[in-house]
């Protein structure tokens, strides 16, 4: 390798020279990444059209979530555009659940399409990669489904309206313990998904805080379909309840298999259980599944009822929490834009987002705390007669 030494040095010199050249030529300046200065002049009640980028998991394995998010956002967009002072233009980009693609998608939206803010990406892992770049570039970014710990620690431009499981899960565990007099429980979680692992950690802590004994902890992976081995093991240990941190698909299959092999105890789920799909796939096996959620489609609330019926009319589905949170996210964004009085100024938008308080969305009353995490309350739900209803 010695013989390279000389040439390496020469190459490096050449490299530096090229760099210098590049820099001197670029004297013409570049404002591509800087937002155009805000046109605050509000004419006849509107402040113009805001371009908002969406980075979402639209194709590939997790596209089901991306789809729900997209539908939620589009519903919100239509409503905002027909009634609000601000018009919104949504630009969707697919991340395929890959962090590099998410980075590229976000960069494209910001630097090519010049969006004012970004909603997404879908996965916490993607957010950990995209967040710092957006934060550095000064673009507000809001996750609607990124529940992992530490997301908003990335920086002051990073927001989320996804209810962290640290709020939801303890509520569910506590309620279930009181209601069913639980003593020992089994834990199950999908171990290759940041979202469910984070949920599992919260479960573990909540279970310990409630003084429950953990008889076993079993794992599986996303997209697994066979849970018979884990459940057979759990059945033999006879726990009073099973706590599951998974996405709805695996959750539903677990419920089905568990009921089939005769596990009749209550199942407490993480955020992933909170989907009509869970009931659809698991059918009668879903009965008795417990979950805490900010989103409750059967809530006695006019806004919720309207949202559910509109959504059903449009997409022939009941909205799940991904759709609901995405719907709220865009509404929050629109409110912040209105307050900021600009559709292009990212700094103003960030500040007005951070100041959001007492926002009434379909997922309940909402505010950002000092760390840009949501402040909202969770309802504990139980599946009864094929529907989510409040566990009282």
């Amino acid at each position: 390798m010695k013989l390279f030494a000389m040439k390496k040095v020469r190459k490096m010199i050449a490299g530096v020279a090229v760099a210098g050249l590049l820099l001197s030529v670029s004297g013409c300046g570049s404002t591509a990444s800087a937002p155009a200065s805000g046109s605050g002049s509000a004419q006849s009640g509107t402040i113009g059209t805001a371009k908002i980028g969406v980075v979402s998991f639209l194709t590939g394995g997790g596209a089901a979530y991306g789809k729900a998010i997209k539908q939620g956002l589009e519903m919100a967009k239509e409503e905002v555009n027909t009634q609000g002072k601000v018009k919104i233009d949504l630009l969707f980009e697919d991340s395929r659940g890959e962090k590099n693609e998410a980075i590229n998608a976000a960069n494209k939206l910001v630097n090519k399409d010049n969006v004012v803010a970004i909603i997404g990406p879908t996965l916490s892992g993607e957010m950990f990669a995209v967040g710092p770049i957006m934060n550095q570039a000064g673009v507000p970014i809001m996750g609607t489904s990124t529940t992992a710990e530490g997301i908003t620690d990335i920086g002051e431009y990073v927001f989320r309206n996804a209810l962290p499981e640290s709020l939801a899960i303890p509520a569910a565990v506590k309620k279930a313990k009181e209601k069913y007099n639980l003593k020992k429980v089994a834990l199950m979680y999908s171990n290759n998904n940041d979202f469910t692992v984070s949920g599992y950690k919260t479960f573990e802590k909540a279970v310990k805080d409630n003084g429950l004994e953990i008889v076993t902890t079993e794992t599986f992976a996303d997209k697994d379909v066979d849970f018979s081995a884990q459940l057979t093991k759990i059945a033999s240990l006879k726990p009073d309840a099973v706590m599951v941190s998974s996405l709805y698909q695996e959750g539903a299959l677990i419920l089905k298999k568990a009921r089939e092999i005769g596990i009749k105890v209550p199942f407490v789920g993480g955020n992933g259980f909170n989907s009509p799909q869970l009931i659809k796939i698991a059918g009668p096996a879903a009965e008795g599944a417990i979950v805490a959620s900010p989103w409750f489609p059967n809530k006695e609330d006019a806004a919720v009822k309207k949202f559910v019926s509109d959504y059903k009319a449009k997409y022939n589905e009941i909205p799940d929490q991904f759709a609901a949170q995405a719907y709220d996210a865009l509404k929050i964004m629109a409110t912040a834009l209105e307050k900021a009085g600009s559709t292009t100024d990212r700094k103003k938008l960030r500040d007005s987002l951070a100041a959001i308080k007492d926002f009434q969305g379909v997922t309940g009353k909402f505010a950002f705390d000092a760390k840009r995490n949501p402040v909202m309350s969770a309802t504990v739900l139980i599946v009864k007669d094929g529907q989510f209803s409040e566990l009282k």
Binding site: A221, K223, A229, K256, G283
Partner: protein
């Protein structure tokens, strides 16, 4: 619990075996790993699902329909992705890549056509559970075990006794020799690929039925497991595929039952790495085919 877990393992394993059979047949005859096999498996599952839920056919008719669709896909695959490469002296990488291309294509078509959500079979067989001694076995499990073993036995018999089966084995050994004996080897290759794909499609229905989830990406993970079985049992070895699948299924289930479930996915590939180092020809491979292909 042991017996129950054994049943679980055998059920899982028999699906692996069926998937691996498809790989093995194509590997044996063409010396190619068909990376699109998992996606054909997935299309089979969807065909079965559509037949069962929209046309309310009997589950065995659904399997037949899936097998037909699978075979058809196999024929197309052979025409589009394999035959153009066969005439030329290309590296053994080319068909690997070409079939990877097909697998990516099929998966994205499925995502577009069927949507990303997981779908379930109508509850035709579910619910019935038999208790035999310490074991509980569901009707679905009985069906999958019976169909898997039945198909494997038929395949074995067919290969050993029928004229076309023998022609297939001859082609597997040497395309050239089979040709000069009068075998239309192109036809045999098409037949093999479509047969393998048909089996894969049936496996898809069975897996969809047993585990009640059919979705576009299901082919990928199953495909990887099938590959593991291919190595475990010995490439191109039918017996190896059958027992390799069962062994893998049981090993995975037992790793959950008596070990840590989080390492379950490492079991499959850990096993094949071990096998390759200790016995590269696979558990059932003949000595003369050691790794030196």
């Amino acid at each position: 619990m042991f017996w129950q877990q054994l049943v679980n393992g055998l059920t899982l394993g028999s699906t692996y075996s069926l998937v691996a059979l498809g790989y093995t047949l194509i590997m044996g005859v063409l010396d190619i790993v068909n990376m699109a096999h998992g996606e054909i498996f997935m299309f089979g599952a969807f065909t079965g699902l559509i037949l069962a839920s929209h046309f309310h056919v009997n589950i065995f008719v659904a399997m037949l329909g899936a097998a037909l669709v699978g075979s058809l896909l196999g024929i197309i695959l052979e025409r589009v992705a394999l035959r153009p490469l066969r005439r030329r002296a290309v590296s053994h990488l080319a068909p690997l890549i070409s079939t990877i291309g097909v697998s990516i294509f099929l998966e994205s078509v499925a995502l577009k056509v069927f949507g990303p959500e997981s779908q379930a079979f109508p509850q035709t067989l579910a619910g019935k559970i038999y208790t035999i001694g310490p074991m509980q076995i569901s009707l679905v499990q009985v069906v999958i075990l019976a169909v898997a073993f039945g198909l494997m036995l038929i395949l074995r018999f067919w290969l050993a006794r029928t004229k076309i089966g023998k022609a297939l084995r001859a082609t597997a050994e040497s395309t050239e020799t089979a040709g000069i004996l009068g075998v239309n080897t192109n036809l045999i290759i098409v037949l093999t690929v479509s047969l393998a794909s048909g089996l894969g499609a049936i496996a898809g229905v069975l897996v969809g039925l047993t585990f009640n989830a059919v979705e576009p990406t299901m082919g990928m993970s199953m495909g990887l497991k099938g590959l593991a079985v291919l190595i475990l049992g010995g490439m191109g070895n039918i017996t190896g595929a059958m027992f390799g699948g069962l062994i893998l299924g049981v090993a995975e289930v037992f790793s959950v039952a008596y070990g840590a479930s989080s390492y379950r996915d490492a079991v499959a590939f850990g096993m094949i790495i071990l096998i390759l180092f200790v016995r590269p020809q696979g558990l059932f491979g003949a000595k003369d085919q050691t790794g030196g292909r």
